[in-house]
Symmetry: C2
């Protein structure tokens, strides 16, 4: 059982609190708050819209499943271990790109992509895998950023950008494949990467759960808790 008494709360995020351990590692405590608007869950939103009992534990369980799978496949991540009872995940220290960049892999034109480009695409059309980047910036509604702007603003260098883009597609393809085994289609998924400082290389950070993706069964959207139950059922 993880004991948070010896850990310092260093950051309180929208859906997770972050504690620093004496050995340099961190603990992510998953909360029951989820992103959305007006009480409706929306993985594309960037503020907390509602609290769903069990959402934290559910997100942790599914994230743990995926991180263990990625590690088994040799994909670098910040994951060390999880303690489901205390809703915590222990992770390696990681340095963000800039103040945080979200990497979105899209397979269907939904969400903000459709809102921006409705003049050129039907809602739900297959488009991927297509990668785009947004800045984590609540004040400015997580603005879209081009690859060239990531470079000129020194948020990433060219090598890191190619690496992140390739890893995002590789990981999204694994998630897509896992979902498809349960008859579920991945429409889009949002990742965060960092420089894993101990090993000094790029790895997947944050979480990988229903809160970061849009998953559908036929034309029915599968909410995060249901997704976790389906994915983790034998």
């Amino acid at each position: 059982m993880v004991n948070l008494r010896n850990a310092d709360l260093v950051y309180s995020g929208k859906t997770k609190d972050v504690y620093k351990l004496e050995n340099g590692n961190y603990i992510l405590k998953f909360k029951d708050d989820v992103t959305g608007e007006d009480g409706v869950f929306d993985p594309g939103a960037n503020k907390v819209g509602l609290t769903i009992e069990g959402a934290g534990k559910s997100g942790l369980k599914l994230s743990t499943y995926f991180f263990e799978l990625f590690n088994k496949k040799g994909i670098p991540t910040h994951f060390i271990s999880s303690d489901i009872d205390s809703n915590t995940m222990t992770v390696l220290p990681a340095q963000l790109f800039g103040k945080g960049v979200e990497v979105i892999v899209r397979y269907r034109a939904v969400g903000s992509f459709y809102k921006r480009y409705a003049l050129y695409v039907e809602e739900g059309a297959k488009i991927g895998p297509y990668v785009e980047f947004t800045l984590k910036d609540d004040l400015r509604d997580d603005p879209l950023i081009t690859e060239d702007a990531l470079l000129i603003l020194n948020i990433m260098n060219k090598e890191e950008l190619s690496k992140v883009k390739a890893m995002a597609i590789e990981i999204a393809e694994i998630v897509k494949e896992e979902l498809s085994k349960k008859g579920i289609e991945l429409y889009d998924i949002k990742f965060e990467f960092g420089r894993i400082t101990i090993e000094n290389h790029i790895g997947l950070i944050d979480e990988v759960s229903g809160g970061n993706m849009r998953a559908y069964k036929g034309d029915k959207y599968i909410d995060p808790l249901t997704l976790e139950k389906i994915m983790l059922s034998k």
Copy 2:
């Protein structure tokens, strides 16, 4: 003198009307309407904000100056000739990319770039030449689009994209150099390109005037009419 009686009005735009000639060429009639908000001129705006007497003729004069310069330098454009008295420019037919794409070359972090990325850049910081693309879409406020999205939405192909990007920088550098001869600094400039159908290659279309750029003398913004006067004075 151009006679518009034998020409069909095919499109009425925010700042120009477009007429088709019997020989397949087009006439652009420059209007005195300029883009802005609440009566204040803003080259980054996408609706007509005010009418300035003489703005059309002034924009035509400066555009003519630049198009003649580009043609002399071997850069393909749609320009054939201008008739200043009638506020018209005769141009070759051109096919837009998609429903129109704006190509912005930035040298300083101002306008929508600064609004989006203020977390990472000081207003007015040197950043360029940096190229970005927006879609002409009034309903959606001319959204920013990534290079990958231009490709997957079939708005341009890869070859056209590289060509347009390289041409935009080449042309912006010429304009920047011309302005600097008069002690004026180019902060950013917006172009439109098309497939010039007769010659079947990519060329600069639309106009090149103060309405499409932000120009400064020291820290003083130079409005379009003043810019034309300074640039065309001996």
